[in-house]
């Protein structure tokens, strides 16, 4: 039986690979769950696009402040050593290569690292890009965390994105409920697979050829 990773396990895998002392931006949804897997001693400094360095999850019972919110407009807290700044400075951090990692959700990632995470195409609804394009081009490493398949069971790891791009050739690594996959010069390279999953099954659920170079520690 395939032991899929839960959302929390995906977030833990994301958090595990980010070294202590890193500067990190976590996108809305799945990415921000990684927050729960660091302790203050890790000194992972979390950036929020709306002007925070040193963001933390709201503590249980802590009074929310409507002027202390994250990118999803949800109340958060701040760690000692944090700072506030305006949007031009915040995006200078993002665009200027000062963040070690950003972690984003996605609709699709291509074998050449193209990212599609902001638009489902011509839906008649107004598309909303937010800060995704700035993070995609600006962070030193771009990690994506997403389900391996869409709800109707089509691959999200693809040869070419069919949806509008957020950035071209920007993604370094993808965490899914089935595997951890690097995007390399040679396309997708699988680093980690969940128990019970065969290589053939993973390839079958993926829209581009996979190489397998599993990292011992993660198998």
């Amino acid at each position: 039986m395939i032991e899929k990773r839960s959302r929390s396990e995906m977030a833990r895998a994301v958090a595990r690979d980010i070294p202590s002392g890193s500067y990190v931006n976590l996108g809305i949804g799945l990415p921000v769950l990684a927050l729960e897997h660091w302790t203050p001693a890790d000194d992972v400094v979390v950036h929020s696009e709306n002007g925070i360095l040193g963001m933390r999850a709201l503590a249980p019972g802590e009074e929310p402040d409507p002027n202390l919110t994250n990118a999803a407009k949800a109340p958060v807290g701040m760690v000692p050593g944090g700072s506030f700044f305006h949007h031009a400075d915040s995006f200078a951090m993002m665009r200027g290569g000062h963040l070690d990692y950003c972690v984003l959700g996605a609709y699709q990632v291509s074998a050449s690292g193209d990212l599609a995470n902001w638009s489902l195409g011509d839906t008649g609804r107004a598309d909303a890009v937010g800060g995704a394009m700035d993070l995609a081009v600006g962070a030193k490493r771009v990690h994506v965390v997403m389900e391996h398949l869409t709800k109707d069971e089509r691959p999200r790891l693809v040869a070419q994105c069919s949806l509008p791009l957020t950035g071209a050739g920007v993604v370094n690594r993808v965490y899914t409920d089935l595997a951890t996959v690097d995007v390399t010069m040679n396309g997708f390279v699988v680093r980690e697979m969940v128990p019970g999953l065969t290589r053939a099954q993973l390839q079958d659920r993926t829209g581009a050829p996979l190489c397998f170079e599993l990292e011992e520690k993660h198998v």
Partner: protein, 224 residues
């Protein structure tokens, strides 16, 4: 004597004409100048171009202006999300134009306007649909998009403290676009939670120097 305080919210929004470009601070609720937006709705200016990161939530503030049909065009990065149904309905019905700008580009275009620059090249959006029709250039091997400054006739901005010269501080993430919009507008109108005496602010901690501000009203209503 310089005294930028005006005595009422109505006076604060006086003179905003039909067809104006109005910059509106806020990221979600944080830093949103709700009272100024409500006063603008009462004031009646129409055919507005509004620049704001979001489109308002619920039925108040910017959402109310949109519902009243006063906004001809919205320039935003993220007008979707919980509570933004008023904009969604207006857009679906073709009652409002919308220009989607990446959030960092939006911030930088405002700053460029305030700083007197003619535009800039950014890697953000290169190779995407948001670069369609825009000038591009490869600089140091990397694709960039040319972006123009974004000037406002007026800015509506929420701050925490203000003095009579218009010096401002903000509260936490309520800062967001406020300082940039004050710079970018010909007339920056600020609603501040509190006023303080000239000289009471630490000169090292002023976030928006008064030179960027034209009117201040103290308005501490429903928002934090």
């Amino acid at each position: 004597m310089i005294n930028k305080f005006v005595e009422s919210i109505e006076r604060a929004v006086a003179g905003i004409a039909d067809g104006s470009t109005v910059l509106v601070s806020g990221f979600g609720v944080a830093g949103q100048p709700v009272e100024l937006l409500e006063a603008l709705a009462e004031q009646g200016a129409a055919e507005l171009t509004v620049v704001c990161n979001n489109s308002g939530t619920g039925e108040d503030g910017l959402a109310r202006l949109i519902k009243l049909g006063r906004v001809r065009k919205l320039i935003a990065s993220y007008p979707s999300g919980t509570g933004s149904h008023v904009f969604a309905e207006a857009f679906a019905a073709g009652r409002i134009e919308y220009e989607c700008v990446p959030q960092g580009t939006l911030a930088e275009r405002l700053r460029a306007a305030g700083a007197g620059l003619g535009g800039f090249f950014t890697p953000t959006g290169y190779g995407t649909a948001l670069a369609d029709g825009k000038e591009t250039r490869v600089i140091d091997g990397r694709g960039h998009v040319f972006e123009a400054p974004l000037h406002g006739d007026f800015a509506l901005v929420k701050a925490e403290n203000a003095d009579r010269w218009g010096n401002l501080t903000y509260r936490k993430t309520g800062r967001n676009f406020g300082p940039l919009m004050c710079m970018a507008a010909a007339t920056a109108i600020v609603q501040a939670d509190r006023s303080c005496e000239l000289g009471a602010m630490d000169p090292e901690s002023v976030v928006t120097p008064g030179i960027f501000v034209q009117r201040v009203v103290v308005a501490n209503g429903r928002t934090a």
